[in-house]
């Protein structure tokens, strides 16, 4: 067992590291001798702990001893006037409690439904949503403050709001952190955007007042931990940290209806040192999408998203299990996805880029290992001709003829797929579409097993022009320098294991 996170009132523990979201078999746990019952998930969180106290967690074979952190003071939001009755607007009371929280203190939200507008976080504090507590976001967009995209002054700019990789005005998130550090958001409570009850999902690509907000938005933050919280029904992306570092998301759940627009689960953008452990996603778009901005942000700030670890998590439904791009102009590198479960996704790993993203748009060092895929239609898709943006369908973006390598040419380096077990695939195991002028450098598939669904459908594997639908195919690669397949078992494949298109 291994301690993943400890706060003043909670902890998260990795029980076994050889499973995925679930362990091979459940274990019975005791905490300081008290029975906690059986646990089947790899990551288990503990709540209701006392600060600065030693605990002993045992699974019968192994014992883990840890100590909770100290806490200065604890502030109950009800003492600040919050009602939690599902009717009153508790925004002011909740915000007051946060602003009044002393250093290393904790704001406690007891069980109840707290209707609230966006709340702004403060450094050096813990926000705890107790079991049964719900921050129920108001649905009237007039109640939401706007975060300006860019504030300009004498050649300098201060960025706040963002939308799909550009510095644009957006509504504040349910929980917004701007330049804060050392914040913990913990507990078994829920942050619910209730987006379906407002107009957020109606004509979602039309800006009305500002672009849609998120449930958690962090900009220029560091040392942030989110544990246990369930996020659901976001107006747009659920969790969106950008230009932030040392972030931990542990044992969280992110939920949105399958037809909800752009409700990505977790989208770190130009962040570094991000860890996601024991998380569960079931959303309307990509479960996790790793980004680094569109052209302006990529060229101006050149800040990649890097050192990302995603483990013991479940991506259940959603378009992509883990996606890189398409806003990746600052580059994405050193991403490790391991010991995860993906179920029912369109694609397992999906890399999306296109001509014009820029010379800093380098995707490199992406590793999938020990991932179980169940009903994932296409486990691996790399698409360097993704038809996004207004000119995405243009001849220049879609040309299979080599174009001059210039400042707009993106790069895909080394991608590894190791010890993958995928059942119920449909279209193909992998589809790789590089650029003729800059092929995908290296794709390595090793020690993995793939099988197809009996009733597999023919599907178009990549969103690019002139990509035909396919069914039960192996790895199809065009414009790739090296594709290595070692120790690969393909069951039910129709055609060659590897088809290199020249």
């Amino acid at each position: 067992m291994k301690c993943l996170f400890v706060s003043c009132r909670s902890a998260s523990v990795l029980l076994r590291e050889d499973g995925d979201y679930l362990m091979p078999q459940a274990v019975r746990l005791t905490l300081n001798g008290a029975d906690l019952g059986e646990e089947s998930r790899s990551v288990r969180s503990l709540y209701g702990l006392q600060p600065d106290t030693e605990y002993s967690l045992s699974d019968g074979e192994e014992t883990l001893v840890f100590r909770t952190e100290k806490e200065s003071f604890s502030l109950d939001v009800r003492r600040f006037g919050a009602r939690g009755d599902g009717n009153a607007d508790d925004t002011a009371a909740l915000q007051a409690a946060i602003l009044c929280c002393p250093r290393d203190g904790r704001v406690v939200v007891p069980a109840g439904v707290y209707r609230t507008g966006p709340l702004f976080l403060k450094s050096h504090m813990t926000l705890e949503l107790k079991e049964g507590a719900e921050l129920a976001l108001l649905t009237d967009r007039d109640r939401f403050p706007v975060l300006p995209g860019a504030i300009l002054k004498d050649g300098a700019e201060y960025l706040l709001g963002t939308w799909e990789g550009n510095p644009l005005d957006c509504f504040a998130a349910a929980l917004t952190g701007i330049g804060v550090e050392d914040v913990r958001i913990i507990g078994q409570g829920t942050v619910d955007g209730h987006a379906g009850e407002g107009d957020w999902w109606i004509n979602p690509k039309i800006r009305r007042g500002a672009w849609r907000g998120r449930l958690l938005y962090l900009r220029d933050c560091r040392d942030i931990a989110v544990q246990g919280i369930t996020f659901r029904n976001s107006p747009a992306w659920n969790l969106h940290p950008c230009f932030s570092e040392r972030l931990l998301f542990c044992d969280i759940a992110v939920e949105a209806p399958p037809d909800s627009p752009n409700t990505d689960g977790f989208d770190p953008e130009s962040c570094r040192d991000v860890r996601v452990y024991g998380a569960r996603f079931s959303v309307g778009d990509d479960c996790i999408a790793i980004k680094s901005g569109k052209i302006y942000m990529g060229r101006t700030y050149r800040t990649p998203c890097e050192r990302i670890e995603i483990a013991w998590s479940a991506m259940l439904d959603g378009h992509g299990g883990v996606t890189v791009g398409s806003e990746m102009a600052g580059g994405v590198r050193e991403v490790r996805v391991h010991h995860c479960l993906m179920r029912g996704n369109d694609r397992g790993l999906r890399i999306k880029t296109r001509r014009g993203r820029g010379k800093d748009a380098v995707v490199d060092g992406i590793t999938f290992s020990d991932v179980r895929m169940d009903g994932v239609k296409m486990p691996l898709v790399i698409n360097c001709m993704y038809f996004c943006d207004p000119d995405g369908h243009s001849a220049w973006v879609q040309s299979r003829e080599a174009q001059p390598v210039d400042d707009g040419t993106p790069t895909v380096g080394t991608i590894r797929f190791e010890r993958i077990r995928a059942e119920g695939c449909q279209a193909c195991v992998g589809y790789i579409l590089g650029l003729p002028e800059r092929p995908v450098s290296r794709v390595i598939l090793r020690d993995s097993r793939f099988s197809f669904a009996e009733d597999a459908k023919a599907l178009v594997p990549a969103m690019a022009e002139n990509v035909p639908a396919c069914r039960k195919r192996g790895v199809i690669a065009q414009f790739a320098d090296e594709v290595t397949m070692e120790g690969i078992t393909l069951e039910g494949v129709e055609g060659e294991a590897l088809e290199m298109i020249h």
Partner: protein
């Protein structure tokens, strides 16, 4: 700026009267696609968007019909009326209005501020609406290629108005292109001395005031520093033209810039 709103109650009839007068006097100018006529139609369109006063909409539609030939089409070089044509299409939904919108063409290289005003915003609008947004980067290049902001105050005003309108018309999700235009505008605006409102301003100078008001509204200029003086100057200029019933008759070409200024004052 409550005083602007209060003044507007007095100015409403005067502005309508000025529009009626200008419409009559600018008929030949619209027909010959002159700067004053083109700008006037843009001013009317903006005033309609802000006030909902049908007089402005009907003026645009009527004058476009006047400018069209017997076949209903405008001359190929009618880029100056292009934005008004889109306005007419949006307002009427008529197929003949859509057909009247021909792909824009305009000068490349060094040119005048007034010519940029006539051609560039229409080019951008056409690309955004009908062109698949694939030429979004070209506008900034053409402004750069035009030789920068003219030194004469009149030309500079047309140039600034063209730039701010192009910026505003560019889809904000094409951020790098919109930002490039915005930076050109910010740099040019620094070089231009705004009229202070105490003297009669030329048409281009009036447009410089319009551009400054719009730049402040779009947060491209320092509103904290500029909003007060620019609005005061703009208000004085608007008042000067609207209080004197003969002013527009003497210089009908000022109607467009004045209406554009008014539309921005009313938006603030």
């Amino acid at each position: 700026m409550g005083e602007i709103k209060a003044a507007w109650r007095e100015w409403t009839e005067a502005a309508e009267a000025a529009a009626v007068t200008a419409a009559e006097l600018l008929r030949p100018d619209v027909k010959s696609l002159g700067d004053g006529g083109c700008c006037f139609l843009n001013g009317c369109a903006e005033m309609y968007r802000v006030t909902g006063d049908a007089l402005y909409r009907d003026t645009v539609l009527r004058m476009l019909d006047l400018a069209a030939g017997a076949d209903g089409f405008l001359p190929e070089h009618a880029a100056g009326l292009g934005r008004a044509l889109f306005f007419a299409l949006d307002e009427t939904g008529e197929e003949r209005r859509r057909k009247a919108i021909a792909p824009p063409a305009g000068p490349e290289g060094r040119t005048t501020g007034a010519l940029l005003y006539r051609t560039e915003p229409f080019r951008v609008l056409y690309d955004m609406r009908f062109g698949g947004k694939q030429q979004a980067g070209a506008a900034a290049e053409r402004f750069r290629g035009a030789g920068g902001c003219p030194r004469d105050p009149d030309g500079a005003g047309w140039y600034l108005a063209a730039l701010i309108d192009c910026t505003d018309l560019t889809d904000e999700q094409l951020y790098e292109h919109r930002r490039a235009l915005a930076e050109l505008f910010r740099a040019a605006a620094k070089q231009v001395k705004q009229p202070d409102g105490t003297e009669d301003a030329g048409n281009g100078e009036l447009l410089a005031l319009y551009a400054a008001l719009k730049g402040i509204r779009l947060y491209l200029l320092d509103g904290e520093r500029l909003e007060g003086p620019v609005k005061r100057a703009a208000g004085l200029q608007a008042e000067r033209w609207l209080k004197d019933p003969e002013a527009i008759r003497r210089r009908p070409g000022a109607a467009g810039p004045v209406l554009l200024i008014l539309s921005e004052l009313l938006r603030s």
